[in-house]
């Protein structure tokens, strides 16, 4: 797995609190059995009219084309546990999300895909969102090691759960291999659980 230390790229701001996963990806696009096309459906109902024509939305704005750092406000990704939501953002091109706070299942799902969810003070998020809207072509530099985001002549401090930051930095954000390698210990532990043995007649 790749070590994720630095994310450099253009920014895009989606403003508002409590943006839920139904908003990020409406359920009707989850009938596909792969994640492949999810990027097309990111924010579908707020990006497109019923006839498929585009609405005004930062994800449709050519100025933000190719953006890889998304800036959001509080409780982003609340609601459903659907991994389709971070998959849609990732496949659209988002590699890191800076926000005031994140819903926990959403942040956990992002982590498993190597998408860093970092938090910043509300006033810093606001400054950053304004900056990106005014200067969409500027390259932002998000560094997980220094926990700083540099933009223009400015810099803001970032926070991330230390456990998740460590996994990003050492490239162990996808937990599958580690958990599978621990299977012998898992089996030992399982034997000790009363409901695994004792409750059988």
């Amino acid at each position: 797995m790749a070590k994720i230390v630095q994310i450099r790229g253009k920014g895009v701001a989606v403003i508002g609190d409590d943006i839920d996963t139904d908003r990020i990806i409406p359920a009707r696009y989850m009938t596909e059995i792969t994640f492949e096309n999810m990027g097309r459906y990111a924010f579908y109902d707020v990006r497109f009219n019923a006839d498929g024509s585009q609405k005004e939305h930062p994800f449709n704005d050519p100025a933000h084309k190719g953006a890889s750092i998304l800036m959001v406000n509080s409780n982003f990704g609340c609601g459903s546990s659907r991994e389709h939501a971070p998959q849609a953002l990732l496949r659209y091109g988002i590699k890191a999300i800076v926000g005031e706070s994140f819903a926990e299942i959403f942040a956990g799902n992002c982590q498993m895909l190597g998408v860093a969810c970092v938090t910043a003070k509300p006033q810093d998020v606001e400054i950053l969102q304004e900056f990106t809207e005014k200067k969409p072509s500027e390259i932002l530099n998000l560094n997980l090691e220094t926990k700083k985001l540099l933009f223009g002549q400015n810099s803001i401090s970032l926070e991330m759960a230390e456990s998740r930051r460590a996994n990003m930095l050492n490239g162990s954000w996808d937990t599958l291999a580690m958990l599978v390698s621990a299977l012998p210990k898992t089996r030992e532990n399982a034997k000790k659980l009363p409901y695994m043995n004792d409750f059988k007649q």
Binding site: I33, T34, S74, V180, N189, Q201
Partner: protein, 466 residues
């Protein structure tokens, strides 16, 4: 040392502390449904990894199943593909699967408890945020994403940070016409939709002690709507009696042994918590949501709030909510006209929910122009309801009686709102677009309140109909 249930359960399921500080947590029961699992199975197939504990995983179909006819192939080609996929995957991975032909199919959070799979003291995970429902039994239950579904299949574990535990102590007996749904809507309104971030919620106090298991499930179900990672109630005699005789419950002498252990997992009387919140519900009224998140709720006799008078953090969302819902600040919610009435979902589709709704409906007629449907949570709930004649009460009144599934709660099936339809719904989310139309509008409330709205064609205080 005195401990709370959450910490007791965590401790015995923690296989290891991981180098990054997270815990490797063993999952005692893994529930799987068709929408969030195919990608997980595909990843394992690609890597040649088998299920580590196939007998600890149980699968069913709920999200995409049509509720009018379950005849195969399904009318929707995509739904049929998804259905075939879970049949194939469960077979290949050696997992027990309850499809429509089993007589035991239903919403995953309804069938787990119904079959006795859900038990106190267990850890439970499912690729669905409403997994918190199972906490009603004193289990620690997490909604997880698809990559974690893959992890559980391959290793029976997830890597997770231990949340803090907030004790929510509720006192008072709500009056007639006020239900568990009203209690949880009030709690979310008070604590906020993001108030639970970083926490698991323990629901305790006389109000929850008096609740039936079904009612506790309704409360725990919506923990996630308050931002909490999990929610649970302590196991007691009601929990034990609910589980007695169920298909996967321990049998005979083993059941007594199990019950003793289950009860021992409850929080000790002097257990410590990271936070405590207290609320009295003796004066609680039926609650109705007026907005686009479950925290935007008011009593049925209340007025829709003015965004300008709200805390700054809530103003923007409230404004957006009024625009979407077409409501005016200051006007009453009672009397708001509805187009659709939906009784169902993992929050409120159990037999007790249907009984309460049927009491309101009996001898009355659905208002003209209102489309009303009842979607039982499982085939077993449907069977029980039919035995009691509830289906006939509903259909005589003009409700449609459907087959088990998630239906219009999230509209991944033919049951959808159209255009700007307004729906009185017993489900859990009123997000924009949730019920299948980008402009569709949802008001959350108890099943009895939905029944009352269906009869009158508008939001009505159910207390006047009892």
């Amino acid at each position: 040392m005195a401990e709370n249930l959450f910490n007791k359960v965590w401790q015995i399921h923690e296989v290891a502390k991981l180098p990054n500080g997270e815990s490797q947590l063993y999952i005692g029961l893994h529930l799987v449904h068709e929408v969030t699992s195919p990608q997980a199975f595909a990843m394992l197939t690609e890597k040649g990894i088998k299920a580590a504990f196939p007998d600890r995983t149980v699968a069913t179909v709920d999200h995409i199943v049509p509720t009018t006819s379950q005849q195969r192939p399904f009318g929707d080609r995509m739904a049929e593909a998804m259905m075939s996929q879970i049949e194939k995957n469960s077979k290949e991975f050696g997992i027990r699967f309850y499809g429509p032909g089993s007589g035991k199919q239903g919403i995953v959070h309804v069938i787990g408890p119904e079959l006795g799979l859900t038990q106190p003291g267990m850890t439970i995970a499912c690729g669905d945020s409403h997994t918190s429902t199972h906490g009603a039994f004193g289990a620690v239950a997490f909604g997880i994403g698809t990559s974690q579904v893959r992890d559980v299949l391959a290793s029976q574990c997830i890597a997770i940070s231990k949340p803090k535990v907030r004790k929510i102590e509720v006192s008072g007996k709500p009056g007639k016409g006020v239900y568990a749904k009203d209690v949880i809507l009030k709690l979310i309104e008070r604590l906020g939709v993001n108030g639970g971030i970083g926490f698991a919620y323990e629901y305790c106090g006389e109000t929850f002690e008096q609740m039936s298991m079904e009612e506790r499930m309704t409360v725990c179900n919506m923990s996630i709507e308050g931002g909490a990672r999990a929610g649970y109630a302590n196991p007691d005699r009601k929990t034990v009696e609910f589980l007695r005789g169920r298909e996967f419950s321990p049998k005979g002498e083993a059941f007594e042994r199990a019950s003793k252990w289950w009860l021992s997992m409850a929080s000790d009387t002097d257990a410590k918590f990271d936070d405590i919140f207290k609320m009295d519900v003796s004066k609680l009224e039926p609650m109705v949501t007026w907005g686009i998140n479950p925290g935007q709720a008011i009593p049925v006799t209340g007025n829709i709030p003015d965004p300008k008078e709200m805390p700054s953090g809530q103003m923007q969302s409230a404004q957006e909510a009024l625009e979407h819902m077409g409501f005016r600040a200051g006007s009453g919610i009672e009397g708001a006209k509805i187009d659709v009435a939906f009784i169902g979902s993992c929050t409120n589709s159990r037999i007790c929910d249907l009984r309460e709704a049927a009491k309101i409906v009996e001898g009355r007629k659905v208002a003209q122009g209102v489309k009303a449907l009842v979607v039982p949570g499982s085939q077993q709930v449907a069977m029980q309801a039919q035995k009691e004649g509830l289906d006939r009460i509903f259909t005589a009144a003009g409700f449609e009686w459907r087959l088990a599934g998630c239906s219009m709660c999230l509209a991944m099936n033919p049951d959808k709102l159209a255009g700007k339809e307004m729906c009185a719904s017993s489900s859990n989310r009123n997000f924009k677009g949730r019920q299948g139309s980008a402009f569709g509008r949802t008001m959350l409330m108890s099943p009895a309140m939905v029944a009352a709205a269906a009869i009158n064609g508008k939001i009505t205080d159910v207390r006047g109909m009892i």
